[in-house]
């Protein structure tokens, strides 16, 4: 089920909030778990079954790691640790890679079965097992709380991927109230608008270019197409993440934001530190730092850094193109750090970051590496045309929209608000916010009224 669907917005969410607010405090977690199970069940019984088995296996493994580590000979804790890791990683590979389709068929999973969010809750659970194994915290005895960590529906589709101790703290410090619902509604509507208005519109522009044969693309069309892709990807992922955070607020949880206006950063490394924050942080924490600590040679450390980025890229798409995207990001950051004092870099920061991240995005968007290189060739004018009728048509139809979306993807408007302090501008914006929020909700409802939902596009995590 999508957050951006009429059924979720007008039936599922209000009913679950009503239930959550009506039950006594000690039953709130249980009610939220039941609603999360219902959410998974609505996406299909195989999905619910997978998530339940996944939760049970990880809970059992973590408990055994903890119990065995507290015994005299703690080395046996490696057995449940290895079992949990193999189960998590094998599950992820089997469900996401086409070459394992025969296994999916042999266990009679429905055609096209994909447990949405599997990549995210696998990261969460794997991180949890590693932390329990390394003794950072105890394995939780409370099964309801652990099950919520895996399948809580506000963070099921797009995270955030949190450490278990942080998740527990968020659960403990929840603030329930009508104002929290207002705050959550505002963030949810912002996310909904990003998805339904921005991402879906940009997707129609991207798919217009995607439908053209790569060898017929002019440079202008290719650039417009890939710009639409990266913006669409950003608005899709951050929109769904914002909706999740907004729902979290409604239930009293302050989940952190996953995207911090990364697109027009002035350095690649700033882009990297603002893009899907918790996911990138996960790879840095569990891959880069874990392995770098064992090596002193700085070249080896750089290689580990690039390898972690490659793995993060692979995690996005489970194909060679995505892995190459990750590798290029890692290499660029390493090179950029070496050139950080260059005057050239200072003068062209935002432009070069946007150009590089856009070119790298080609590897995420194309079906194969061969297509990616052909697309880049077209972007460089290799098809002997800088612009054609298609470019002019796209510019006429979408250029204004593209510029508006580019502006919307920056933090300029937020900075104006922050700088306005206690001025009248801020007061006016606060006064208008409820009406604007409601208006945006009405517009989004109108846009999805025909199909009933705005489906997840480009990437399924």
């Amino acid at each position: 089920m999508e957050y951006s669907s009429l059924f979720f917005i007008y039936c599922f969410l209000p009913v679950s909030l009503l239930l959550y607010y009506c039950v006594p405090n000690k039953l709130k977690d249980m009610s939220l778990l039941l609603m999360s199970m219902a959410f998974c069940g609505l996406a299909g019984l195989p999905y619910l079954a997978y998530v339940m088995v996944f939760t049970l296996v990880n809970y059992t493994c973590a408990r055994h790691i903890y119990i065995l580590s507290s015994k005299k000979d703690g080395r046996y804790k490696l057995i449940p640790m290895a079992a949990g890791m193999v189960f998590n990683i094998a599950g992820l590979f089997i469900l996401r890679m086409d070459c394992f389709a025969w296994i999916r068929h042999s266990v009679r999973l429905p055609e096209g079965f994909f447990p949405v969010g599997v990549s995210l809750f696998t990261l969460s659970a794997t991180g949890y097992l590693i932390d329990v194994y390394s003794g950072k915290y105890k394995a939780d005895k409370n099964f309801v709380r652990f099950a919520l960590y895996i399948m809580m529906f506000p963070r099921l589709l797009m995270g955030p991927v949190l450490r278990y101790d942080i998740f527990k703290r968020i659960l403990r410090t929840r603030r329930i109230g009508f104002q929290e619902i207002g705050k959550g509604a505002a963030v949810f509507i912002k996310g909904l608008a990003k998805k339904v208005i921005a991402a879906d519109t940009l997707y129609s522009m991207y798919s217009s270019v995607d439908s053209i044969n790569v060898s017929d693309l002019s440079a202008g069309t290719a650039w417009m197409g890939i710009s639409a892709y990266i913006l669409c990807l950003y608005f899709t992922l951050s929109g769904i993440a914002d909706m999740g955070v907004g729902i979290g607020y409604c239930f009293g949880f302050s989940f952190p934001q996953s995207f911090n206006y990364p697109l027009f950063s002035s350095r690649i490394r700033y882009f990297a530190s603002r893009w899907h924050l918790q996911v990138i942080h996960w790879f840095r924490k569990y891959i880069t730092r874990s392995f770098s600590a064992r090596f002193k040679n700085r070249y080896v450390r750089k290689m580990i850094y690039v390898a972690a980025w490659t793995l993060a890229g692979f995690w996005y798409g489970f194909d060679a193109g995505s892995a190459l995207w990750g590798a290029l990001m890692g290499i660029s950051i390493v090179i950029e750090k070496r050139l950080s004092n260059s005057k050239m870099l200072k003068a062209t920061g935002i432009i070069y970051t946007f150009l590089l991240t856009t070119v790298f995005a080609v590897f995420l968007s194309c079906d194969s590496l061969k297509d990616s290189f052909r697309y880049i060739f077209a972007m460089l004018g290799g098809n002997h045309a800088l612009a054609d009728m298609q470019t002019l048509y796209l510019m006429k139809s979408y250029l204004v929209l593209l510029i508006i979306m580019m502006y919307a993807s920056t933090d300029l408007f937020r900075n104006i608000l922050i700088r306005s302090g206690r001025s009248r501008i801020k007061a006016a914006i606060n006064a208008a916010a409820p009406a604007v929020g409601l208006l945006v909700l009405i517009i989004c409802t109108a846009l999805i009224a025909y199909s009933g939902s705005s489906d997840m596009i480009l990437l399924r995590l």
């Binding site: 299909g44 619902i181 217009s208 270019v209 909700l441 199909s451």
Partner: protein, 368 residues
Amino acid sequence: MKDRSNWLTAAAVSVFVIATGTFMFGKMTMNIKSADIRRDASGGIGKALQSYSAECIAGRKGWISAGSMISDAIRGNTVNGVYVSDNRLIDADISKRGSSAGCAGSINGFAGWYDGAVYIAAVPTSSGVYGDTVPSYIMKTTEKQQIDSFYSQLDTSIRRIDAYNILKMMSDEHIYFSSDTKWTMYGAYCVYRTVIQKLGFQPVSYDKYNIRHVTGEYRGDLYSRTLYMKCEPDILDIYEYPEGTKVTSCVSYSNDGKVSVCSLYDTDALGSEDMYDLYLGGEKPLVRIRTDVNNDRRLLVIGSRCAASFVPFLTQHYSEIAVISPEAMNKPITSLLEPNDYEQTLFLIGIDSVESENFKFIEMRELS
């Protein structure tokens, strides 16, 4: 100030969501049929509920109409998969259609055991004839390709009729409704002239018909998808041939064998939700028409919805015509009639309906 803003946001959004949700939930629980949901639930029950909730939102037409206007303003010319040109709506989602292999296989299967001659005309939708007015990056394939691919899968014994080129040549005429995928009665007449010659008759000339405009308020399936207000309504016509032969009986049969009297033109349908039901009273598994033509020729027509406006022209040539609608069937064709009682069979199939699984009933024979 911020707290008050949050409070007001919560109040405004809560009232709107609860009011909309209560109505939607009420309508969903009242009208829901578990069978519908089961049929739709291939992507999980939630997916089925998502699309069903869209049908149950209060003021659905208003929402879709508003959505179309907003979409038109921000996304250009495509609304809910329909391309909005200056003078007509065109289905731009034709590349999403399913495979025609199942339909072709069923027709081959039928031709295998049927004793008479089999003819087929695959009828393009308005997207096929006017698709070249849509930018190529929106219309990613053509119906010509789909028709060619469909024909290539048919057995060589089946005689193909090229409806596509006939209609393409007449594209300046009023052969398709501006808000519908289906042809007008004039479009059907243009194809009839060729089809009837292949079947061994001379066509009735156009000037012998009295054409009556029964309504100027027709809005078709593409309008229903967009509710795009700027699209002008169309005219529905009836073709009458006063000096021609008369229909002596017209009877429809339901799947459970219930018999009812019908007519070539059911004007009561003009007051219904779908005015196209004017022709033969809508889709029924079997309609049997008898005329006072005294030649003892019998024709079996197996067709999709577009066939309904074509059949009136055939009544001038046959003493009996049986019209089968696969879309309305749920059991083998032989449970409705014996095809071998008819010496000719004409498949008149809209290319947008070849993906239907119901064509399997055409090749099935009920064991006696």
